[in-house]
Amino acid sequence: MHDKSAHAARHRVPPTGFIRKYIFSTDHKVIGEQYYGLALAAVFIGMVLSWIMRIHLAWPAAAIPGMQLLSKNGAPGGVLTPEYYLQLMTMHGTIMVFFVLTTAPLAGFGNYFLPIQVGAEDMPFPRLNMLSFWVTFGAFLVAIAAFFVPQGPPLSGWTAYAPLSALGEVAGPGQGTGQVLWAVSIAIFCVGQLLGTLNFISATLDMRCQGMGLMRLPLTVWAWFITACISLTAFAVLMPACILLVLDHVAGTSFFVPSNLVVNDQLQPHAGGSTLLWQHLFWFFGHPEVYIAIVPAMGIVSHVLITNMRRPLLSHKAIIYSMVAIAFLSYMVYGHHMFVSGMNPYSSIAFSLPTLAITIPSTIMVLIWIGSLYGSKLRINTASLFALGFISMFVSGGITGFFLAQPSLDIMLHATYFVVGHFHLVMAVAALFGIFAGTYFWFPKVTGRMMNETLGKVHFWFTFVGAYCIFMPFHYLGMAGNVRRYQAFVDDFMAPLMPVHKFITIAALITGAAQLIFLYNLIHSRFWGELAPQNPWEGTSLEWSIPSPPPFDNFAGKLPVVYHDPYQYDIEGATNDYVMQDSPASINSVRGEK
């Protein structure tokens, strides 16, 4: 075997030029920041899109200032046309799901902290890593380009159900070039994620420093590793599906288009395909994607909570096994998106039961988090507040899964705002809370400066209360039968629900605006924040054992040696109440973990 001195003697030279250092950098930390920056740009675009949609829903005739600049046809005089509403909705979903919820928690934080936390100087394949980001960035540009083609972006939603998405221009504005760009963008995105995944899995297994056994990995690393295992195959299925969709457009094939369709009194030249096939392939990716977004957040939240509770979780292993169980189940349940979409009704039952079974690992995790709070010495700061907020959101959003997992209830709730409320809470808001918790927690390490706590807490309160004000009422709307993906609710039973929509819109505007506090805090603290010590939160994992910000190859040419499990808090006799993972001090107190 190679000893650590041999391993550390590699002396990688840090790049000097601006381009090699900050643009085409192979340094995992720069790539992590690039991913985070991409997600930040994307989340603000996605948020503005949601603002526009919310304003339009609450006041359908209102002119939104500046909209006509974005699209002259789509928003004449600033008032959205029905098709432009759907086009913005499609792009909101696409940008948020792919370029925010997939990139930030996994690729952003994971790239930055996974190598550090396992005690490595970089990812095993730095060039692939760089390529992964730039491929993803290219996918983002292609997706954004859809805004600027003549007919605008596609209007078929982020799920792109065929044959609406496969028929081309005849099916609606944006279904031609815009839809092709969408499919191409997603196919490219899949390639980028695959490259990232290779690094994540091999780094976790192979790059661990001496002493870093698998069970000594922090929960964040476990979460990223498990997520990478999910995305390894999920994206590999979506990519060919998108390619087949592109072929239906440009090569005249009919994979997803059945025979004898008549659009605008014209018989379509396609024949023989199946629209359900697209749904199967899409959701085979689509459901694991939900866990790709949420599992990293679970890891980050556990990590942040433990550090701030000053004690390890009741069970380290229960959390890991629960995440593994969720990863397994994520593949077996995808059909619950298709209960009423014409899938074989017997399949519905087969998909319903594993979906309900996901309750079990999810409940285990929530109970472990809550049970660990008992008797802890919880420190309240912005990061821990967001972590607590995550638990609350995850419970609220997860519980509505009881309903949607049952085909018979799905008859009433499918395609209503209930679904919108459910997945926004459990996937979007909860994952975002994980991202926020991670940002406030790790910002000092990344930049060497502290974020402003007061602004952070203001941001938290607006976001926490705001998110509930926005997404809880969605459930009530859905129970009353309010259908989603409608650009206006005219002369029907949904009209009386308009006050709720107006309330949601106002809440969304305020909550969205509060994110500017976060943005200001992020930028201001980056340059003028208080200088951060090496270990401001008194954490134990390896990222706190190196200077803030970390040097080029993380451990300055000498890889650490790990002597302890990740979360050695509440240690008697330690100078503080904790012992770092790489501290050679021995621990005599015996604490059992079941």
Partner: protein, 267 residues
Amino acid sequence: MGKVFAATLIVIALASAMPIILHTWEPPADISTHGRLIDEQMSETMAEAGVAFLAAQLILAWLVWRFSNRPKNEKIQHFPGGARGLVAAAVLVVGIEVMALGIFGAKAWAAIYFTPPSANALPIQAQAGQFAFYFRYPGADGKFGPIHPEMVNEGNLNFFGLDTTHDADSKDDIVTAELAVPVNREIHLLMHSKDVGHSFFIRELRIQQDFVPGLDLAVHFTATKPGKYEILCTQLCGLGHYNMKAYLKVMSQSDFDNWLKQKAALQ
């Protein structure tokens, strides 16, 4: 700050539960024979989910209230029973409860989808297209004439592509833009999509089923209360999706016969 979090969480949890407890926003009353099972399942699930929701949020609030920012000299305590008890609770209480809910709840689904329509059910064909529903009654011969997609022409009001000159079965087919059904009579609704995916959603009937292009699916239901109800499209079908709706009219058998005669006269 921890106490503020706890207080806020309690307020949010109670406020969130209030509209459910007060039944502020409810689906309209059920007018179908099969809907009772769905409604019962819904209330059972709501009761379970509500208890779980409130319990989790309130316990979280209490723990944060009690254990945040404790003085330095206080000791960390341990949750009695440790992780094992919690895992057992999650599996045995929550897990089994939810699984049981799902397994027994499947009977509502089975009642709708695993049972064929009765032999005397009235067949009606529904066709969805961008962005309107049309309905077809087989007429006196009880047979639907074949659809010729190439003959679909909305300008000529030939929504289904019927060839009334050649197909004998098509001659007496009655095409309407609204769905009229006799009360307390089982309807066998044959669903056909003309172009892209659509959906057929009537809240009062507790029916939602997608129109799948290339597949002629069917649902069956019995409406028990006369009245006029909205039929919505719930599957994104294009720019006019929000405006794609039709009406279900449930009427007495004699009204229905008259209505059908009237419509037939217009063909």
